[in-house]
Symmetry: D2
Subunit: 148 residues, 4 copies
Amino acid sequence: MTHPEPGEAMEARVRASLERQGMMATLGVELIAIERGRVQMALRHNDRLTQQHGFLHAGAVASVLDSACGYAAYSVMPPEASVLTVTFTINLLAPAAGQLFSITGSVVRAGRTLQVCRGEAFADDASRPFAAMQATMTALYDRPDISG
Amino acid sequence: MTHPEPGEAMEARVRASLERQGMMATLGVELIAIERGRVQMALRHNDRLTQQHGFLHAGAVASVLDSACGYAAYSVMPPEASVLTVTFTINLLAPAAGQLFSITGSVVRAGRTLQVCRGEAFADDASRPFAAMQATMTALYDRPDISG
Amino acid sequence: MTHPEPGEAMEARVRASLERQGMMATLGVELIAIERGRVQMALRHNDRLTQQHGFLHAGAVASVLDSACGYAAYSVMPPEASVLTVTFTINLLAPAAGQLFSITGSVVRAGRTLQVCRGEAFADDASRPFAAMQATMTALYDRPDISG
Amino acid sequence: MTHPEPGEAMEARVRASLERQGMMATLGVELIAIERGRVQMALRHNDRLTQQHGFLHAGAVASVLDSACGYAAYSVMPPEASVLTVTFTINLLAPAAGQLFSITGSVVRAGRTLQVCRGEAFADDASRPFAAMQATMTALYDRPDISG
């Protein structure tokens, strides 16, 4: 059985919402790949995003991991739902040192109201992540004031 | 008994480190108050920092809470130590709607190596927080490549 | 305006649910106080609940904090709702050394579906907690298979 | 290059510490497998470990996940170190319904002082976890009062 919403419609829905995030433009985030339940983004090192030692700020990493997890959750929601972050935990396994960061979010479990996701951030060609996230997202329905 | 480091020296140490955070300048964060074990910051709503519904992005809120908690921890460390985030958990209790946000970080327990902090974010004149953080920071010693 | 459910009914509802928790009996947990949005429990040191150094196991502490937070959330729910834990984060600020532990859970923000709580655990006469929890609970409705 | 400590010595060290955990005996936990950086445990459903709906209590699940993660971390530490939990986050993805639960802990990143681990809990023959943990452990050195 195929999913009721075609993949192209889902991808367009995710891209339209992401383009409304001022924060992703400020960070210079690029959307690399979307599939149902998984989103990959890229972030470049930028001195405007650093902490005091010159590494990427934990908050910049967390912002992109949160968006990757949020859109992974959004990609499996019905088209009429909106997505909000409930809570997330991030572990910084190593300093965010590098030039190009690959950041993924994947749905671990999806319910109608709550979705649990995992995110990982990789620096340059590393095979092991330097940051890991566990996130809980929620789908909102029947909220005409909030869409996307 | 007074703390071996005068309050002015501690405050100068925190400010010098904070000024090296490109991310805080990018977010437009202002340092409001520092005391030993507690830091207060302010953030203004800005369309460059939003998620898709026009509220502040969870990552922007997390970034400032992380810095407030990190500098609260740093304020109680010996002057020769550097601070890094180990992990944090943020709960978004309500959408980050408002114009002016007050963000505080406080040390709950400080050891030589690990410091546990709590952060809270308030919108405008609200008495109840819209976001809460529990964070673990670490002090680094004898790392000439990392200072502040 | 008074709450539609009398305090006695709420307290009876919490106690009835708690008494069905086999785990609380196994740990020897005692319910000390209930008010709307706040629950206090007591736990005694017991060699059956230790980790390898003879302190209380982090999981034993987490179990009681989770129940205290869960029942704080349950106390503010409508009588027809059931409560489940979505996620929690616990920080162990110091080893759980002592004889009598006081464990509290409080609601920080309550929505119809999600409730965010904070928990703290104190040893003997300590004024500072040795463990802190941030928890997200959910209310279930219309689930005849799950009650309490 | 082989690890300086033989696998048998590491396994004996983990088992000796685990056997001192009163909590694991109280829960009836069985150690299934140990390798360097990964521990698997088993837990049976027991009415003494339930929450109010008859599922395993979140705290019982968290206790075993915490021990699995803790011993995964301990297995990669030098023999003279002791292990303590700093913090963990658990997501309950579904009620802990079943008869036999398989619980694993794996090291994601190991430093001399801090180790980050992930844990997963599976019910019966399920291929997807019903609970996921992200945990931070610490190695203690030169603490004659704390061993294992």
